[in-house]
Symmetry: C2
Subunit: 366 residues, 2 copies
């Protein structure tokens, strides 16, 4: 999804992809094949690049450091990426900055979890500090016995954990900002995200009914994190909102993020364009939305292997739909595309986006 | 510019380009090199394509016919393309359909031009029936002596001419429609185009102050042409508007057209997306604009060979600009990019788009 923005800006992308079947290879001419943990492959790939950036956070620190040592700008840099890679580092740093995190503790043994629950009550949340994604690596545990099972199992696999209060949130928000090396930043409208089984299903931009003070606070949190952690490129701060309106930081992503896919069709400058502008230290573009409201629904693979008939039906049913398909093989639970609808009426936009996403995955057939 | 639309729709493009340095090669992985008049190259390229379409009209008829004979859908087909390739055929057919063309005549000798001028008065316009582009192949002649010089010179080169009344237009308009093989069509807002030395400089969408009846008439003309000529894909009808508001057909283009570049950033469905949808017989997308007004300014090469510093300046000056650069070497008079601004106030949008286009080409430096 970076390629359309690169084409318009006149930038040439080179991609390192682990698998020649990766969807990036279908749309970008200059592709190198190699795993991001393969130092030689990464250095060979990076030769001649003006800047290296990422679409996920799973590049090992030693590879990042070796890249930096070559003198090629790496944006965001390893010093920032650490906080997107390691949730314990993130919690420690954000707490230090006085930003609103749920009560938390590193977990060396079940006693640490018990001590947290003593203060917060059960349930609590256990998280792998590294490598989680789309709900993987997160366990909500109701009592000490359940916590012990997760902790023992993680110890057996060498996985480090932290424990957090289970925030009694009423909804989840995402605040996205772009920041460039010379410190310019722009903040996108704060959106509401709807997750199901740990996977983002829908995004509403802006978050319906959000009070201006809360939206400004979410943007302030994201801008503060971007600045203090020296983030370059797009930063998404995923937040919990509790019934009293307060905001709690959940996760960070230092890259274009699913909660910003609506910006491709719905904003003057998409998150992909602003990510590219930021990592190249170009001036950033306006994050202003085109319409009062955008609803984005992910198409999550189910059991319909051939999207084409459904795609035809959806295009015919609704000429205002923006359907994006990723060229990925359909697997249950895999994000294979998304749909965006712009408009003014929430119920109308949401019905249209939901219908198309459900139809495309084969959940409904009328 | 077709590639971003193809990526979003999940379509894979294969391009036949005459020169390995063509800008399409920079952004599309699957490129074949060959000239569109090279039958073997075209047939080899087309093997395995679901449909073949065009970004210019200069594919010879025998190549088109051979392509059609292979059974691969060619859209628009040779029967339609003829009217975009040959202005005499176009004038004859549109006159037959009762559509408003300037008075015209084929020119076999200077006597034909003189006979037309007898009826219309001087000046008249002489046009090469084939191969013209961006003002090339068009001569406005003030008297018979001037007409004779053009006619003799054309005869010497074997170029066929027609003669037309010089329409005393007050502005130029363009009406774009997309039409699919099964006959669905959508009409974009009618725009005003501003030419200088035969080259399009600016486009205003919609045409400022256009009366609804005139806009509807322009759309009716374009939809009629698309249907009667069996056009598939995008059709642009370039029109003259005279002081009495009347419309006169100037030229046809059967492809995405410069007058529709504003739709990339300014419409729910860009002309490139609707061209792809149309030639694949997919349902068409909404042509609705995102904003009350869009102004597009072409960046015409002058003597600034390195765009980058100007590009930086323009991005910094105006975060709402959509700058598109084409990856072409800068040559005087060559379209090397365009700029689009969306908004509500004409003077504001026009000033911003004009400033950026002039700065990018090196015409101004502040």
């Amino acid at each position: 999804m970076m390629q359309p923005a690169a084409i318009a800006l006149g930038l040439r992308l080179r991609v390192l992809s682990a698998d020649p079947q990766d969807c990036a290879n279908q749309v970008i001419p200059d592709v190198a094949t190699g795993h991001p943990s393969d130092l030689e492959a990464v250095l060979e790939f990076a030769r001649g690049c003006d800047v290296v950036t990422f679409e996920h956070e799973h590049v090992p620190a030693d590879v990042l450091d070796a890249l930096v040592a070559t003198g090629i700008p790496v944006r965001p840099g390893p010093g920032a990426l650490l906080y997107a890679q390691d949730k314990a580092e993130m919690r420690a740093r954000l707490s230090e900055l006085g930003l609103p995190c749920p009560e938390w503790t590193p977990v060396a043994s079940a006693a640490d979890a018990a001590a947290l629950a003593e203060s917060t009550g059960w349930p609590i949340v256990l998280k792998a500090t590294r490598g989680g994604y789309d709900g993987r690596g997160v366990w909500v545990v109701d009592d000490l016995a359940a916590a012990e099972r997760v902790i023992d199992e993680a110890a057996g696999r060498g996985v480090k954990l932290l424990a957090e209060a289970a925030v009694p949130f009423v909804r989840e928000l995402s605040a996205q900002v772009a920041r460039s090396p010379h410190g310019q930043a722009v903040a996108y409208p704060v959106v509401e995200t709807v997750q199901k089984e740990g996977i983002c299903r829908e995004v509403y931009a802006p978050a319906p009914g959000i009070e201006e003070a809360h939206a400004l606070e979410a943007q302030r949190i994201a801008l503060t994190i971007a600045k203090e952690l020296d983030v370059t490129g797009m930063l998404a701060v995923e937040l919990f909102q509790t019934a009293d309106g307060r905001l709690w930081i959940n996760e960070l992503a230092m890259r274009p993020h699913n909660s910003g896919h609506w910006t491709i069709d719905g904003a003057v400058t998409s998150q992909f364009e602003n990510h590219l502008r930021a990592v190249l230290d170009l001036p950033l573009g306006s994050p202003a939305p085109h319409a009062p409201l955008a609803v984005m629904a992910n198409v999550i693979g189910l059991d319909l292997p051939d999207l084409y008939p459904a795609y035809l039906h959806c295009l015919a049913r609704d000429p205002g739909l923006k359907i994006h398909t990723y060229g990925k093989a359909v697997k249950p639970g895999r994000k294979i595309g998304h749909v965006t609808v712009l408009g003014e009426d929430f119920e109308d936009c949401a019905e249209r986006a939901r219908h198309a996403a459900a139809y495309l995955r084969g959940e409904i057939d009328e």
